[in-house]
């Protein structure tokens, strides 16, 4: 899978062509994405918050799963790049009448689009689409099943880099539902690729997949021990919609054992930053005093998500395949 993704994500010059997962990319490319995002931040200072980079390009947002933050920040990023946008609401589209995914894609291709942003409940959906689209089209993964959510991971890395300056001296702790989390999978890979000093995961045994340690993370089941000396804490949402079977007694019970409280955060470094990809279940993953408190950078993450998505889309659209097409 990795080799295949490696081939499909990059063009022959090693530049971004599709953006499907962190897997198969490299440290230089992740830094390039963050550097590019940095330069897009000045666009927000403009009276007209737009640059003409993707003028005349058509981007289709294909969201087979609900999303507010990801969809709206993608849409804003596309608009700030001056692209034309189609939002396909799958619930009311022909897919719900029985059209296959590939037929939907073929029909949209026939309308001369240039990029798909895909969110899908099945792992590998974006990769599947990328392997079948016409050569000039780029595919961006907006989250697929339990597999990957690479743009979220990149905006998290960008937020960490902006506030902490780098990764080499950091202890980053990811707390929560690792099992169902595509965000955690992408974050773990990115943190490792960026050579983070120490990465820990804190989770109940029922919400921890078997591969965690293979991604270079230390596993903790006791939150107090896990938070000790942390520079960055990332809380993950309990994904009730993906939980089949009794993995947890209750949200309340989870909060008692793993919820972030002001008291618990004291075990981390005094300048710790607290992150959450959203949406937050207040009183489950963290108490409001933490979510709204001085350590929280949760809303900053949302803002930075726009420039990171501008960076990724403009890079993918300007690789060799897109430049030479048509």
């Amino acid at each position: 899978m990795t080799d295949l993704e490696n081939n499909i994500q990059l063009d022959k010059n090693g530049r971004l062509r599709h953006f499907l997962s962190i897997d198969g990319l490299n440290k230089a490319l992740l830094n390039e994405i963050m550097d590019r995002a940095e330069s897009f931040e000045s666009v927000t200072a403009q009276k007209v918050k737009k640059v003409p980079l993707l003028r005349g390009k058509t981007i289709v947002n294909l969201f087979f799963e609900n999303s507010t933050r990801t969809r709206t920040t993608f849409e804003l990023a596309e608009k700030r790049l001056s692209a034309d946008i189609l939002n396909i609401n799958i619930a009311t589209s022909a897919t719900s009448k029985g059209e296959s995914l590939l037929d939907t894609i073929r029909n949209l291709e026939a309308m001369a689009v240039d990029m798909f942003v895909v969110r899908h409940g099945e792992s590998g959906a974006a990769h599947f689409i990328a392997s079948f689209v016409e050569p000039h089209i780029s595919v961006i993964n907006g989250g697929d099943g339990r597999h990957a959510h690479p743009t979220q991971a990149m905006l998290d890395m960008f937020t960490i880099r902006k506030i902490k300056g780098g990764f080499e001296n950091l202890t980053v702790v990811i707390v929560g539902d690792i099992l169902h989390s595509r965000v955690a999978r992408s974050q773990l890979r990115a943190l490792r690729m960026l050579e983070t000093k120490e990465v820990r995961v804190v989770a109940p045994k029922t919400l921890l997949p078997s591969f965690t340690e293979s991604l270079g993370a230390k596993v903790f089941h006791d939150i107090d021990a896990g938070l000790k000396g942390a520079d960055v804490i990332i809380a993950l949402r309990l994904q009730k919609e993906r939980m089949r079977g009794a993995l947890l007694p209750s949200g309340n019970e989870y909060f008692n054992c793993f919820g972030l409280t002001e008291e618990r955060i004291k075990r981390a470094k005094s300048d710790v930053m607290v992150m959450h990809p959203g949406p937050i279940n207040r009183g489950v993953e963290m108490e409001s005093r933490v979510a709204d408190g001085p350590y929280s950078v949760i809303l900053r993450q949302v803002t930075l998500g726009i420039s990171i998505r501008m960076a990724i889309m403009s890079m993918a659209m300007h690789s060799e395949h897109a430049a030479t097409a048509k």
Binding site: E32, D35, R36, E38, S39, F40, E41, S42, V43, A45, Q46, K47, V48, K50, V51, P52, L53, S314, H318, A322, A323
Partner: protein, 171 residues
């Protein structure tokens, strides 16, 4: 690559400064804002900023996101962002570049400036005005006008010292 001895930076700067002063006076420009195009234009603008005694901070424009040829030549991976601290709306602007050649850079720069606001006037000042225009854009103030062959490119290196070099392209 040849260094051009006869293009003395000091006298080019003086010529451009004089021409700008004359233009500012003739148009009665008020509280002018100086903006240099990254990178060569920004170096020149920085020098002019102090020579003209301007009070508002120097603006630097990086036009990479506005180029009309990015799909052909791609984009430099690291684009240092534009830096305009002052409001452009309603201002008198001195737009500065090192070399005026095809005119495309200036077009992109003006597109970007208008995305920050609607200036009252823009005066274009360049150190070197060379032949080879592809779109109808002309400089208001120049350090010198020169004629080069189409295979030749002139480039400002710097920032210390500033120096013009000519490169030959074999096509």
């Amino acid at each position: 690559m040849t260094e051009i001895q006869h293009l003395d930076i000091t006298s080019l700067m003086t010529n451009l400064e004089q021409a700008l002063k004359k233009e500012i006076h003739a148009r009665s420009l008020k509280k002018t804002l100086i903006i240099g195009i990254h990178t060569g234009g920004a170096w020149v603008a920085e020098k002019l900023h102090s020579r003209l005694g301007l009070t508002d901070p120097l603006g630097v424009l990086n036009i990479s996101f506005y180029r009309d040829d990015f799909s052909q030549i791609g984009m430099h991976p690291q684009v240092s962002p534009s830096h305009l601290q002052c409001v452009v709306e309603g201002r008198d602007v001195l737009l500065i570049d090192d070399v005026l050649y095809t005119g495309r850079t200036i077009r992109a720069a003006m597109n970007e400036i208008f995305d920050y606001g609607r200036p009252n006037q823009i005066v274009l000042g360049v150190l070197i005005d060379r032949n080879g225009r592809q779109i109808p854009i002309q400089a208001d103030c120049v350090g010198a006008r020169i004629v080069l062959e189409s295979r030749q490119r002139i480039k400002l290196t710097g920032p210390d010292p500033l120096q013009f070099v000519i490169q030959d392209f074999v096509s």
